[in-house]
Amino acid sequence: MNHNTQSRHRVLNFIADNTILAVLGALFIAPIVLVLLTSFMSGRQTLTASWWPDPWEWDNYVKAFTEVPLASWFANSTMYAVLSTVFMIVSSVPAAYVLAKIKFRFSNVIFLAIIVAMLLPPQVTIVPIYVMWAKIGLTGTLWPLILPNLLGSAFSIFLLRQFFLTIPSAYADAARVDGAGEVGVLLKVMVPMTRSGIAAAAIFQFFYSWNDFFGPLLYTSENQQAWPVAYGLATFHGSHGTDWGMTMAVTMLVTLPVVIVFFFAQRVFVEGINLTGVTG
């Protein structure tokens, strides 16, 4: 009897929890569904209360490419994201390795500086940095956002360092005993063992660049040829005789690459997020 009520209690609990989850989940998914449906509506229909496309305006996805330079936006975003990511890996992996595994006099000072640089709002230093790029003559392009990655990105160095710390030093020591130099240790021993960490850092960098709005606003707003998707989308509604249907189609298209990358690398990604947050 007692056992029976307890299990019934458990079943009721189970149903209650899952019902709440289902309702909440539906609320979280609803915006995406509504945006998707709207992206198939004509401009006039988006201004009505109906939420099911009638007729289906498949054309929105074609018009998105013909009425605005969406292809150019995608090309720019891809360049920004891919180059930033490659540059970041080349520069940040060695730096993170050194900070994690090699003891030297100022390592703590440098690490502290990296944390502060990572946390500092970019707007704090934006005036001198903008002036610097203006003097060099690279404003109006995405290079001021790409090139700094050659000198490491504070967040990536931090993240990668945390990954390197999880690898026992014994492996590196063994390689050193075998006569490998630090570069050899890094490339032959450490990198293969932190592949998922590097992948996570790469994905974060890719997403950051793909989503970046402030940087492109600052550096490329005056040069439409250099606009990436995030900035283009922000100016999209309103400038080209646009309607919400088409705007939502572009919104879907801008989001799609991120979602695809996520589903291919979900595990690595979640691991990475946890490493940024688990401190206690």
């Binding site: 929890d17 201004l47 209360a49 606003l217 995030a230 100016t235 509604h237 919104t251 688990v278 401190t279």
Partner: protein, 296 residues
């Protein structure tokens, strides 16, 4: 191997901090050399600027209201997923998915969904007889609507909470249960203390992110005001409606790069630096936490 990174720190961190301080005492528009004007930027900032107070208060609002709500929401969902034993797979993805949407895309979508006249949200409210508010077009509602957006994209914080909740040893719960603690007591005495450092981390990084809140507010103002087009000055529409969405960093951008008062923008940046430093201090007191192997 560290040289590029050190160079990076010097060029993009140390030098700009120093140079920014210098610029803050000048009048500078890039066209003629910076002109030393002493404390005039600061006097204007603290005594005359008609919009900086609104910008600072809006940002403070985001720190004090949006950040805690987002954290509570993430904790709530993470706790619910734990309780329903749905920690991985489908449900986790459902709640995480919105966090993946690029911020500009999510704001554009929200301005459409919450459009007071033709948006689906108010259409749904109307169908049950409620006259919905003006959301992004009402100074009273614009920030709360951004909070709704922040809750929608809480996935990254939620994942961190989930991981730390999973790390809470089961034995502690069982021991507490044996001692007669009920579910609520177990949360207060077992779960919360165990994940407190993670909550603190999320709160401080969330606060620092809120201090630089820019994209969502700027895009919401632009699209909701109907003036986001190619040749609108973005800094003209910033803050719409009625400066309710004007954030501190937007104001810095508008002064610095909308009107090219770079000296004044530098002064605003110095103040932002000081405020951020306080929050960073909170985090860096736990500097050791960044060194899991105890090395510091």
């Amino acid at each position: 191997m560290l040289t590029p990174a050190i160079l990076g720190l010097l060029v993009f961190f140390v030098y700009p901090l120093v140079a920014n301080l210098y610029y803050s005492f000048t009048s500078y528009d890039l066209l003629s050399p910076p002109r030393w004007i002493g404390l005039r930027n600061y006097t204007y900032l603290f005594t005359q600027d008609p919009r900086v107070a609104a910008a600072a208060l809006n940002t403070l609002w985001l720190v004090l209201i949006m950040v805690p709500i987002k954290i509570l929401a993430s904790l709530g969902v993470a706790g619910l997923l734990m309780k329903a034993r749905r920690v991985s797979g489908f449900w986790r993805t459902v709640f995480y998915l919105p966090a993946l949407v690029p911020p500009v895309a999510s704001v554009v979508a929200f301005v459409f969904l919450f459009n007071p006249g033709s948006g689906p949200v108010n259409a749904a409210l109307r169908s049950v007889g409620i006259a919905g508010p003006l959301w992004f077009n009402d100074p009273q509602w614009s920030k709360p609507t951004l909070v709704v957006l922040a809750i929608w994209v809480m996935g990254d914080v939620m994942i961190i909470f989930l991981a730390s909740l999973l790390n809470v040893p089961r034995e502690q719960h069982e021991a507490a249960a044996l001692d007669g603690a009920n579910a609520a007591q177990r949360i207060v005495y077992v779960t919360l203390p165990a994940i407190a450092p993670v909550i603190l981390f999320a709160a401080v990084t969330g606060a620092i992110a809120a201090l630089q809140y820019f994209t969502e507010a700027a895009v919401a103002s632009g699209v909701a005001s109907g003036k986001s087009g190619v040749y609108t000055k973005l800094s003209d529409v910033m803050g719409y409606p009625a400066d309710s969405l004007l954030t501190y960093t937007e104001w810095l951008y508008a002064r610095g790069f909308g009107s090219f008062q770079l000296g004044y923008a530098a002064a605003l940046a110095v103040v932002l630096f000081v405020v951020t430093a306080v929050f960073m201090g909170l985090l860096l007191r736990r500097f050791d936490a960044f060194n899991p192997d105890g090395r510091s």
